[in-house]
Subunit: 267 residues, 2 copies
Protein backbone atom coordinates (compact mmCIF):
# COMPACT_ATOMS: atom_id res chain seq x y z
CA UNK A 1 0.00 0.00 0.00
CA UNK A 2 1.39 3.38 -1.01
CA UNK A 3 2.17 5.46 2.06
CA UNK A 4 0.14 8.64 2.09
CA UNK A 5 2.39 11.65 2.70
CA UNK A 6 0.89 15.11 3.13
CA UNK A 7 3.16 17.78 1.68
CA UNK A 8 2.54 21.49 2.27
CA UNK A 9 5.87 23.02 1.21
CA UNK A 10 6.22 23.52 -2.56
CA UNK A 11 10.01 23.44 -2.13
CA UNK A 12 9.92 19.96 -0.55
CA UNK A 13 12.69 18.02 -2.31
CA UNK A 14 10.54 14.89 -2.44
CA UNK A 15 8.48 16.61 -5.14
CA UNK A 16 11.50 16.99 -7.45
CA UNK A 17 10.13 14.57 -10.07
CA UNK A 18 7.14 16.86 -10.65
CA UNK A 19 8.81 20.23 -11.13
CA UNK A 20 8.24 22.57 -14.06
CA UNK A 21 6.39 20.15 -16.30
CA UNK A 22 5.96 22.75 -19.03
CA UNK A 23 9.69 23.31 -19.41
CA UNK A 24 10.42 20.78 -22.15
CA UNK A 25 14.22 21.16 -22.15
CA UNK A 26 14.54 20.95 -18.39
CA UNK A 27 12.22 17.95 -18.26
CA UNK A 28 14.09 16.10 -20.97
CA UNK A 29 17.37 16.29 -19.08
CA UNK A 30 15.80 15.66 -15.67
CA UNK A 31 13.89 12.60 -16.89
CA UNK A 32 16.88 11.15 -18.71
CA UNK A 33 19.16 11.72 -15.74
CA UNK A 34 16.83 10.06 -13.27
CA UNK A 35 15.40 7.44 -15.63
CA UNK A 36 11.83 8.44 -14.96
CA UNK A 37 8.72 9.43 -16.86
CA UNK A 38 5.41 10.95 -15.85
CA UNK A 39 1.89 9.69 -16.32
CA UNK A 40 -1.04 12.09 -16.00
CA UNK A 41 -4.68 11.33 -15.25
CA UNK A 42 -6.29 8.36 -13.53
CA UNK A 43 -6.64 6.26 -16.65
CA UNK A 44 -3.08 6.69 -17.89
CA UNK A 45 -1.58 6.25 -14.40
CA UNK A 46 -3.54 3.02 -14.02
CA UNK A 47 -2.41 1.69 -17.37
CA UNK A 48 1.24 2.50 -16.72
CA UNK A 49 1.18 0.58 -13.44
CA UNK A 50 -0.79 -2.31 -14.94
CA UNK A 51 1.76 -2.48 -17.75
CA UNK A 52 4.39 -3.19 -15.10
CA UNK A 53 6.18 0.16 -14.84
CA UNK A 54 7.39 0.63 -11.25
CA UNK A 55 6.04 3.81 -9.63
CA UNK A 56 8.56 6.08 -7.90
CA UNK A 57 5.76 8.15 -6.36
CA UNK A 58 2.33 9.66 -6.95
CA UNK A 59 1.19 13.26 -6.56
CA UNK A 60 -2.45 14.26 -6.29
CA UNK A 61 -5.05 16.27 -4.45
CA UNK A 62 -7.13 14.49 -1.82
CA UNK A 63 -10.16 14.09 -4.08
CA UNK A 64 -8.35 11.85 -6.59
CA UNK A 65 -7.24 9.26 -4.02
CA UNK A 66 -10.39 7.15 -4.08
CA UNK A 67 -10.39 6.64 -7.83
CA UNK A 68 -6.86 5.26 -7.71
CA UNK A 69 -7.08 3.35 -4.41
CA UNK A 70 -6.80 -0.03 -6.15
CA UNK A 71 -3.65 1.09 -7.95
CA UNK A 72 -2.15 2.61 -4.81
CA UNK A 73 -2.79 -0.68 -3.01
CA UNK A 74 -0.36 -2.48 -5.31
CA UNK A 75 2.77 -0.46 -4.52
CA UNK A 76 5.00 0.79 -1.72
CA UNK A 77 5.79 4.05 -3.53
CA UNK A 78 4.74 7.16 -1.58
CA UNK A 79 1.66 9.11 -2.56
CA UNK A 80 2.18 12.83 -1.99
CA UNK A 81 -1.13 14.47 -1.15
CA UNK A 82 -1.18 18.19 -1.88
CA UNK A 83 -3.65 21.00 -2.48
CA UNK A 84 -4.46 21.77 -6.11
CA UNK A 85 -2.79 25.15 -5.65
CA UNK A 86 0.42 23.50 -4.50
CA UNK A 87 0.31 21.00 -7.38
CA UNK A 88 0.03 23.93 -9.76
CA UNK A 89 2.87 25.77 -8.07
CA UNK A 90 5.20 22.79 -8.34
CA UNK A 91 4.30 21.59 -11.84
CA UNK A 92 3.76 25.02 -13.38
CA UNK A 93 0.33 24.25 -14.77
CA UNK A 94 -3.18 23.40 -13.69
CA UNK A 95 -3.33 19.61 -13.51
CA UNK A 96 -6.73 19.13 -15.16
CA UNK A 97 -6.68 15.39 -14.97
CA UNK A 98 -5.90 15.31 -11.29
CA UNK A 99 -3.43 12.55 -10.59
CA UNK A 100 0.22 12.37 -11.54
CA UNK A 101 2.65 9.50 -11.16
CA UNK A 102 6.38 9.33 -11.65
CA UNK A 103 7.51 5.92 -12.89
CA UNK A 104 10.81 4.19 -13.59
CA UNK A 105 11.77 3.79 -17.20
CA UNK A 106 12.86 0.34 -18.27
CA UNK A 107 15.65 -0.61 -20.64
CA UNK A 108 14.23 -0.47 -24.16
CA UNK A 109 13.59 -3.89 -25.68
CA UNK A 110 15.73 -5.11 -28.56
CA UNK A 111 14.53 -4.76 -32.14
CA UNK A 112 14.31 -8.56 -32.23
CA UNK A 113 11.98 -8.65 -29.26
CA UNK A 114 9.75 -5.91 -30.67
CA UNK A 115 9.49 -7.53 -34.10
CA UNK A 116 8.86 -11.04 -32.81
CA UNK A 117 5.68 -12.22 -34.53
CA UNK A 118 4.94 -8.77 -35.96
CA UNK A 119 3.34 -8.55 -39.39
CA UNK A 120 2.58 -4.84 -39.60
CA UNK A 121 5.19 -2.38 -38.39
CA UNK A 122 5.59 1.40 -38.44
CA UNK A 123 9.07 2.87 -38.76
CA UNK A 124 9.31 6.55 -37.84
CA UNK A 125 12.15 8.78 -39.03
CA UNK A 126 12.82 11.96 -37.06
CA UNK A 127 9.27 12.69 -35.97
CA UNK A 128 10.20 15.31 -33.41
CA UNK A 129 6.79 16.40 -32.16
CA UNK A 130 5.61 14.64 -29.00
CA UNK A 131 1.96 15.04 -29.96
CA UNK A 132 2.53 13.36 -33.32
CA UNK A 133 4.45 10.46 -31.78
CA UNK A 134 1.62 9.93 -29.28
CA UNK A 135 -1.08 10.21 -31.95
CA UNK A 136 0.73 7.70 -34.18
CA UNK A 137 0.97 5.19 -31.34
CA UNK A 138 -2.72 5.61 -30.55
CA UNK A 139 -3.90 5.23 -34.16
CA UNK A 140 -1.50 2.37 -34.81
CA UNK A 141 -2.77 0.45 -31.78
CA UNK A 142 -6.39 0.91 -32.89
CA UNK A 143 -5.77 0.08 -36.53
CA UNK A 144 -3.78 -3.12 -36.43
CA UNK A 145 -0.11 -2.17 -36.08
CA UNK A 146 1.97 -4.77 -34.21
CA UNK A 147 5.12 -2.76 -33.45
CA UNK A 148 6.74 0.66 -33.86
CA UNK A 149 10.41 1.44 -34.44
CA UNK A 150 11.76 4.97 -33.92
CA UNK A 151 14.84 6.51 -35.50
CA UNK A 152 17.42 7.91 -33.08
CA UNK A 153 16.10 11.47 -33.43
CA UNK A 154 12.39 10.84 -32.94
CA UNK A 155 10.67 12.46 -29.96
CA UNK A 156 10.45 10.41 -26.77
CA UNK A 157 7.27 8.28 -26.60
CA UNK A 158 7.43 8.40 -22.79
CA UNK A 159 7.50 12.17 -22.58
CA UNK A 160 4.39 13.35 -20.70
CA UNK A 161 2.73 14.89 -23.73
CA UNK A 162 3.28 11.78 -25.91
CA UNK A 163 1.95 9.52 -23.17
CA UNK A 164 -1.14 11.69 -22.77
CA UNK A 165 -1.97 11.79 -26.48
CA UNK A 166 -1.26 8.07 -26.94
CA UNK A 167 -3.94 7.36 -24.27
CA UNK A 168 -2.05 4.37 -22.91
CA UNK A 169 -1.08 2.88 -26.27
CA UNK A 170 2.55 3.67 -25.44
CA UNK A 171 2.30 0.96 -22.76
CA UNK A 172 0.51 -1.67 -24.83
CA UNK A 173 2.27 -1.26 -28.18
CA UNK A 174 5.69 -2.91 -28.52
CA UNK A 175 8.16 -0.20 -29.54
CA UNK A 176 11.84 0.57 -29.39
CA UNK A 177 14.42 2.94 -30.74
CA UNK A 178 16.74 2.02 -33.60
CA UNK A 179 20.42 2.33 -32.68
CA UNK A 180 21.39 2.67 -36.26
CA UNK A 181 19.96 5.00 -38.86
CA UNK A 182 21.78 4.50 -42.16
CA UNK A 183 21.01 0.83 -42.81
CA UNK A 184 17.84 0.57 -40.76
CA UNK A 185 15.59 -0.21 -43.73
CA UNK A 186 17.84 -2.75 -45.48
CA UNK A 187 18.10 -4.48 -42.10
CA UNK A 188 14.30 -4.79 -42.03
CA UNK A 189 14.28 -6.12 -45.57
CA UNK A 190 16.82 -8.72 -44.48
CA UNK A 191 14.38 -9.75 -41.74
CA UNK A 192 11.68 -10.47 -44.28
CA UNK A 193 9.75 -7.20 -44.22
CA UNK A 194 8.82 -5.27 -47.33
CA UNK A 195 9.68 -1.67 -46.45
CA UNK A 196 7.25 0.84 -47.93
CA UNK A 197 8.24 4.52 -47.71
CA UNK A 198 5.45 7.11 -47.64
CA UNK A 199 6.70 9.87 -49.92
CA UNK A 200 5.77 12.32 -52.65
CA UNK A 201 8.61 10.91 -54.82
CA UNK A 202 7.77 10.61 -58.52
CA UNK A 203 7.91 6.82 -58.50
CA UNK A 204 5.50 6.51 -55.56
CA UNK A 205 2.43 4.36 -56.25
CA UNK A 206 -0.90 4.51 -54.40
CA UNK A 207 -0.48 2.86 -51.01
CA UNK A 208 -3.23 0.29 -51.60
CA UNK A 209 -1.30 -1.03 -54.59
CA UNK A 210 2.04 -0.90 -52.84
CA UNK A 211 0.93 -3.16 -49.97
CA UNK A 212 -1.54 -5.44 -51.75
CA UNK A 213 -1.00 -9.09 -50.88
CA UNK A 214 2.11 -8.46 -48.78
CA UNK A 215 2.69 -10.50 -45.66
CA UNK A 216 5.16 -8.59 -43.48
CA UNK A 217 5.11 -4.84 -44.08
CA UNK A 218 7.15 -2.06 -42.50
CA UNK A 219 5.57 1.29 -43.34
CA UNK A 220 8.13 4.09 -43.20
CA UNK A 221 7.08 7.63 -42.24
CA UNK A 222 9.15 10.80 -42.24
CA UNK A 223 9.28 13.93 -40.12
CA UNK A 224 6.85 16.83 -40.06
CA UNK A 225 8.79 19.36 -42.10
CA UNK A 226 10.82 17.67 -44.78
CA UNK A 227 9.48 14.14 -44.95
CA UNK A 228 11.88 11.23 -45.28
CA UNK A 229 15.61 11.62 -45.77
CA UNK A 230 16.84 10.72 -49.27
CA UNK A 231 18.64 7.73 -47.73
CA UNK A 232 15.50 6.25 -46.22
CA UNK A 233 13.37 7.13 -49.19
CA UNK A 234 15.74 5.36 -51.55
CA UNK A 235 16.71 2.42 -49.35
CA UNK A 236 13.07 1.35 -48.91
CA UNK A 237 11.82 -1.50 -51.09
CA UNK A 238 8.86 0.51 -52.37
CA UNK A 239 7.63 4.09 -52.37
CA UNK A 240 3.95 4.86 -51.85
CA UNK A 241 1.60 7.81 -51.65
CA UNK A 242 -1.87 8.43 -50.27
CA UNK A 243 -3.78 9.79 -53.27
CA UNK A 244 -4.79 13.39 -52.60
CA UNK A 245 -6.65 16.15 -54.38
CA UNK A 246 -4.35 18.23 -56.54
CA UNK A 247 -3.05 21.53 -55.16
CA UNK A 248 -3.46 20.43 -51.56
CA UNK A 249 -0.83 20.34 -48.84
CA UNK A 250 0.20 16.94 -47.72
CA UNK A 251 -1.64 15.42 -44.79
CA UNK A 252 -0.39 15.92 -41.27
CA UNK A 253 1.82 12.93 -40.40
CA UNK A 254 -0.60 11.66 -37.73
CA UNK A 255 -3.54 11.77 -40.18
CA UNK A 256 -1.44 10.13 -42.90
CA UNK A 257 -0.46 7.38 -40.49
CA UNK A 258 -4.07 6.67 -39.55
CA UNK A 259 -5.06 6.42 -43.21
CA UNK A 260 -2.06 4.25 -44.01
CA UNK A 261 -2.77 1.86 -41.12
CA UNK A 262 -6.37 1.53 -42.29
CA UNK A 263 -5.24 0.78 -45.85
CA UNK A 264 -2.66 -1.76 -44.63
CA UNK A 265 -5.25 -3.63 -42.59
CA UNK A 266 -7.11 -4.22 -45.86
CA UNK A 267 -4.11 -5.47 -47.86
Amino acid sequence: MAARVEVADPADPRLADYRDLRDVELRKSLEAEHGLFLAEGEKVVRRAVEAGYAPRSFLMAERWLDGLSDVLATTEAPCFVVTEALAEEVTGFHVHRGALASLERRPLPSVDAVLDGARTVLVLEDIVDHTNVGAILRSGAALGVDAVLLSPRCADPLYRRSVKVAMGAVFSMPWTRLDEWYDALPALTARGFTTVAMTLAPDAVPLEEAVRGLDRVALVLGGEGHGLSPRWEQSADRRAIIPMRPGIDSLNVAAATAVACYAMERR
Copy 2:
Protein backbone atom coordinates in the same frame (compact mmCIF):
# COMPACT_ATOMS: atom_id res chain seq x y z
CA MET B 1 0.38 49.26 -51.20
CA ALA B 2 0.19 48.71 -47.46
CA ALA B 3 1.56 51.72 -45.58
CA ARG B 4 4.54 50.78 -43.47
CA VAL B 5 4.08 52.05 -39.91
CA GLU B 6 6.88 51.66 -37.37
CA VAL B 7 5.49 51.11 -33.89
CA ALA B 8 7.70 51.19 -30.78
CA ASP B 9 5.14 51.49 -27.99
CA PRO B 10 3.57 48.18 -26.95
CA ALA B 11 0.55 50.10 -25.63
CA ASP B 12 -0.14 51.67 -29.04
CA PRO B 13 -3.90 51.31 -29.56
CA ARG B 14 -3.41 50.46 -33.25
CA LEU B 15 -2.06 47.09 -32.13
CA ALA B 16 -5.32 46.17 -30.37
CA ASP B 17 -6.17 43.37 -32.82
CA TYR B 18 -3.00 41.49 -31.78
CA ARG B 19 -3.24 41.57 -28.01
CA ASP B 20 -2.97 38.54 -25.73
CA LEU B 21 -3.26 35.88 -28.40
CA ARG B 22 -2.92 33.09 -25.86
CA ASP B 23 -5.96 34.21 -23.88
CA VAL B 24 -8.66 32.13 -25.60
CA GLU B 25 -11.65 33.64 -23.81
CA LEU B 26 -10.54 37.21 -24.32
CA ARG B 27 -9.75 36.56 -27.97
CA LYS B 28 -13.11 34.93 -28.63
CA SER B 29 -15.01 37.97 -27.43
CA LEU B 30 -12.61 40.48 -29.00
CA GLU B 31 -12.73 38.76 -32.40
CA ALA B 32 -16.50 38.39 -32.36
CA GLU B 33 -17.02 41.99 -31.32
CA HIS B 34 -14.78 43.38 -34.02
CA GLY B 35 -15.55 40.79 -36.69
CA LEU B 36 -11.91 39.90 -37.22
CA PHE B 37 -9.69 36.86 -37.28
CA LEU B 38 -5.94 36.37 -37.28
CA ALA B 39 -3.68 34.59 -39.73
CA GLU B 40 -0.16 33.57 -38.70
CA GLY B 41 2.82 32.85 -40.88
CA GLU B 42 3.67 33.93 -44.40
CA LYS B 43 1.90 31.04 -46.12
CA VAL B 44 -1.36 31.32 -44.21
CA VAL B 45 -1.42 35.14 -44.43
CA ARG B 46 -0.93 34.88 -48.20
CA ARG B 47 -3.70 32.32 -48.59
CA ALA B 48 -6.17 34.35 -46.52
CA VAL B 49 -5.60 37.43 -48.68
CA GLU B 50 -5.69 35.40 -51.91
CA ALA B 51 -8.98 33.88 -50.78
CA GLY B 52 -10.40 37.40 -50.72
CA TYR B 53 -10.47 38.18 -47.00
CA ALA B 54 -9.88 41.91 -46.51
CA PRO B 55 -6.87 42.68 -44.29
CA ARG B 56 -7.38 45.16 -41.46
CA SER B 57 -3.64 45.33 -40.80
CA PHE B 58 -0.42 43.33 -40.66
CA LEU B 59 2.11 43.04 -37.85
CA MET B 60 5.64 41.77 -38.35
CA ALA B 61 9.32 42.28 -37.72
CA GLU B 62 11.37 43.94 -40.43
CA ARG B 63 12.86 40.69 -41.72
CA TRP B 64 9.48 39.26 -42.80
CA LEU B 65 8.54 42.20 -45.03
CA ASP B 66 10.28 40.98 -48.17
CA GLY B 67 8.62 37.58 -48.22
CA LEU B 68 5.19 39.19 -48.13
CA SER B 69 5.89 42.20 -50.33
CA ASP B 70 3.64 40.92 -53.14
CA VAL B 71 0.76 40.47 -50.71
CA LEU B 72 1.33 43.88 -49.09
CA ALA B 73 1.27 45.43 -52.55
CA THR B 74 -2.36 44.40 -53.00
CA THR B 75 -3.86 46.28 -50.06
CA GLU B 76 -4.12 49.67 -48.37
CA ALA B 77 -4.19 48.15 -44.87
CA PRO B 78 -1.33 49.35 -42.64
CA CYS B 79 1.63 47.09 -41.92
CA PHE B 80 2.91 47.62 -38.38
CA VAL B 81 6.63 46.97 -38.25
CA VAL B 82 7.87 46.09 -34.78
CA THR B 83 10.80 44.40 -33.08
CA GLU B 84 10.37 40.71 -32.26
CA ALA B 85 10.50 41.62 -28.56
CA LEU B 86 7.62 44.05 -28.99
CA ALA B 87 5.60 41.51 -30.99
CA GLU B 88 6.07 39.07 -28.13
CA GLU B 89 5.09 41.66 -25.56
CA VAL B 90 1.87 42.51 -27.38
CA THR B 91 0.78 39.01 -28.42
CA GLY B 92 1.98 37.21 -25.30
CA PHE B 93 4.01 34.60 -27.16
CA HIS B 94 6.99 34.22 -29.40
CA VAL B 95 5.69 34.53 -32.97
CA HIS B 96 7.68 31.67 -34.52
CA ARG B 97 6.23 32.08 -37.93
CA GLY B 98 7.00 35.76 -38.15
CA ALA B 99 4.12 37.53 -39.80
CA LEU B 100 0.62 38.14 -38.45
CA ALA B 101 -2.38 39.62 -40.21
CA SER B 102 -5.75 40.69 -38.87
CA LEU B 103 -8.52 40.19 -41.42
CA GLU B 104 -12.23 40.96 -41.65
CA ARG B 105 -14.59 38.07 -41.23
CA ARG B 106 -17.29 37.71 -43.86
CA PRO B 107 -20.90 36.69 -43.36
CA LEU B 108 -21.05 32.90 -43.37
CA PRO B 109 -22.48 31.43 -46.57
CA SER B 110 -25.85 29.71 -46.52
CA VAL B 111 -26.10 25.94 -46.25
CA ASP B 112 -27.48 25.96 -49.80
CA ALA B 113 -24.43 27.75 -51.12
CA VAL B 114 -22.02 25.43 -49.32
CA LEU B 115 -23.77 22.27 -50.49
CA ASP B 116 -24.16 23.37 -54.09
CA GLY B 117 -22.64 20.60 -56.22
CA ALA B 118 -21.20 18.81 -53.16
CA ARG B 119 -21.11 15.03 -53.19
CA THR B 120 -19.08 14.33 -50.04
CA VAL B 121 -19.80 16.36 -46.93
CA LEU B 122 -18.63 16.28 -43.31
CA VAL B 123 -21.07 17.31 -40.57
CA LEU B 124 -19.45 18.06 -37.21
CA GLU B 125 -21.37 18.00 -33.95
CA ASP B 126 -19.90 19.90 -31.01
CA ILE B 127 -16.24 19.44 -31.84
CA VAL B 128 -14.97 22.02 -29.38
CA ASP B 129 -11.23 21.74 -29.84
CA HIS B 130 -9.72 24.24 -32.29
CA THR B 131 -6.89 21.89 -33.20
CA ASN B 132 -9.33 19.13 -34.12
CA VAL B 133 -11.49 21.45 -36.23
CA GLY B 134 -8.40 22.63 -38.08
CA ALA B 135 -7.06 19.09 -38.56
CA ILE B 136 -10.43 17.91 -39.90
CA LEU B 137 -10.53 20.73 -42.45
CA ARG B 138 -6.99 19.95 -43.57
CA SER B 139 -7.56 16.21 -43.95
CA GLY B 140 -10.95 16.72 -45.57
CA ALA B 141 -9.48 19.07 -48.17
CA ALA B 142 -6.72 16.60 -49.01
CA LEU B 143 -8.97 13.55 -49.11
CA GLY B 144 -11.86 14.61 -51.28
CA VAL B 145 -14.41 16.34 -49.05
CA ASP B 146 -16.45 19.02 -50.84
CA ALA B 147 -17.98 20.88 -47.88
CA VAL B 148 -18.11 20.97 -44.09
CA LEU B 149 -21.09 21.87 -41.88
CA LEU B 150 -20.59 22.70 -38.19
CA SER B 151 -23.14 22.41 -35.41
CA PRO B 152 -23.81 25.59 -33.43
CA ARG B 153 -21.43 24.55 -30.62
CA CYS B 154 -18.40 23.56 -32.68
CA ALA B 155 -15.19 25.51 -32.22
CA ASP B 156 -14.57 28.44 -34.56
CA PRO B 157 -12.70 27.43 -37.76
CA LEU B 158 -11.32 30.98 -38.02
CA TYR B 159 -9.81 31.01 -34.56
CA ARG B 160 -6.02 31.41 -34.92
CA ARG B 161 -5.21 27.90 -33.77
CA SER B 162 -7.73 26.28 -36.16
CA VAL B 163 -6.47 28.37 -39.06
CA LYS B 164 -2.87 27.38 -38.31
CA VAL B 165 -3.58 23.66 -38.09
CA ALA B 166 -5.82 23.71 -41.19
CA MET B 167 -2.87 25.13 -43.17
CA GLY B 168 -5.09 27.28 -45.36
CA ALA B 169 -7.80 24.67 -45.95
CA VAL B 170 -10.17 26.84 -43.93
CA PHE B 171 -10.01 29.34 -46.82
CA SER B 172 -10.38 26.85 -49.68
CA MET B 173 -12.97 24.47 -48.23
CA PRO B 174 -16.60 25.62 -48.38
CA TRP B 175 -17.97 25.53 -44.82
CA THR B 176 -20.67 27.11 -42.72
CA ARG B 177 -22.39 26.77 -39.39
CA LEU B 178 -25.79 25.13 -39.01
CA ASP B 179 -28.37 27.43 -37.43
CA GLU B 180 -30.42 24.54 -36.33
CA TRP B 181 -29.33 21.47 -34.42
CA TYR B 182 -32.31 19.19 -33.80
CA ASP B 183 -33.38 18.47 -37.37
CA ALA B 184 -30.06 19.10 -39.08
CA LEU B 185 -29.64 15.53 -40.31
CA PRO B 186 -33.19 14.95 -41.57
CA ALA B 187 -32.80 18.24 -43.44
CA LEU B 188 -29.75 16.79 -45.20
CA THR B 189 -31.62 13.61 -46.01
CA ALA B 190 -34.35 15.74 -47.54
CA ARG B 191 -31.69 17.34 -49.75
CA GLY B 192 -30.69 13.97 -51.14
CA PHE B 193 -27.75 13.10 -48.90
CA THR B 194 -27.40 9.78 -47.12
CA THR B 195 -26.35 10.76 -43.60
CA VAL B 196 -23.89 8.29 -42.05
CA ALA B 197 -23.17 8.70 -38.34
CA MET B 198 -19.79 7.51 -37.04
CA THR B 199 -20.60 5.80 -33.75
CA LEU B 200 -19.91 2.81 -31.54
CA ALA B 201 -23.67 2.03 -31.50
CA PRO B 202 -24.50 -1.69 -31.65
CA ASP B 203 -26.15 -1.41 -35.09
CA ALA B 204 -23.12 0.32 -36.64
CA VAL B 205 -21.70 -1.42 -39.71
CA PRO B 206 -18.16 -1.07 -41.07
CA LEU B 207 -17.85 2.28 -42.81
CA GLU B 208 -16.82 0.77 -46.16
CA GLU B 209 -20.10 -1.13 -46.27
CA ALA B 210 -22.17 1.82 -45.08
CA VAL B 211 -21.04 4.09 -47.91
CA ARG B 212 -20.58 1.60 -50.74
CA GLY B 213 -22.16 2.80 -53.97
CA LEU B 214 -23.69 5.94 -52.45
CA ASP B 215 -23.77 9.14 -54.46
CA ARG B 216 -24.20 12.02 -52.03
CA VAL B 217 -22.91 11.24 -48.53
CA ALA B 218 -22.88 13.36 -45.38
CA LEU B 219 -20.56 11.80 -42.84
CA VAL B 220 -21.51 12.80 -39.31
CA LEU B 221 -18.84 13.08 -36.57
CA GLY B 222 -19.30 13.74 -32.87
CA GLY B 223 -17.35 15.59 -30.19
CA GLU B 224 -14.16 14.53 -28.47
CA GLY B 225 -15.54 13.33 -25.18
CA HIS B 226 -18.93 11.77 -25.63
CA GLY B 227 -19.30 11.25 -29.35
CA LEU B 228 -22.58 12.05 -31.06
CA SER B 229 -25.70 13.08 -29.23
CA PRO B 230 -28.44 10.41 -29.17
CA ARG B 231 -30.55 12.68 -31.38
CA TRP B 232 -27.95 12.88 -34.13
CA GLU B 233 -26.96 9.25 -33.79
CA GLN B 234 -30.56 8.15 -34.23
CA SER B 235 -31.68 10.69 -36.81
CA ALA B 236 -28.91 9.70 -39.24
CA ASP B 237 -29.85 7.35 -42.07
CA ARG B 238 -27.07 4.89 -41.23
CA ARG B 239 -24.65 4.22 -38.42
CA ALA B 240 -21.07 3.18 -39.18
CA ILE B 241 -17.85 2.28 -37.40
CA ILE B 242 -14.19 2.12 -38.34
CA PRO B 243 -13.22 -1.46 -37.48
CA MET B 244 -10.67 -1.43 -34.66
CA ARG B 245 -8.70 -3.94 -32.63
CA PRO B 246 -10.61 -5.09 -29.57
CA GLY B 247 -9.83 -3.49 -26.22
CA ILE B 248 -8.55 -0.30 -27.80
CA ASP B 249 -9.71 3.25 -27.19
CA SER B 250 -11.50 4.84 -30.06
CA LEU B 251 -9.45 6.87 -32.49
CA ASN B 252 -8.94 10.57 -31.98
CA VAL B 253 -11.64 12.40 -33.96
CA ALA B 254 -9.11 13.93 -36.37
CA ALA B 255 -7.56 10.51 -37.11
CA ALA B 256 -11.00 8.94 -37.49
CA THR B 257 -11.99 11.68 -39.92
CA ALA B 258 -8.91 11.13 -42.06
CA VAL B 259 -9.60 7.40 -42.24
CA ALA B 260 -13.28 7.98 -42.99
CA CYS B 261 -12.53 10.46 -45.78
CA TYR B 262 -10.12 7.97 -47.34
CA ALA B 263 -12.73 5.21 -47.17
CA MET B 264 -15.43 7.49 -48.63
CA GLU B 265 -13.23 8.41 -51.59
CA ARG B 266 -13.19 4.70 -52.47
CA ARG B 267 -16.96 4.13 -52.21
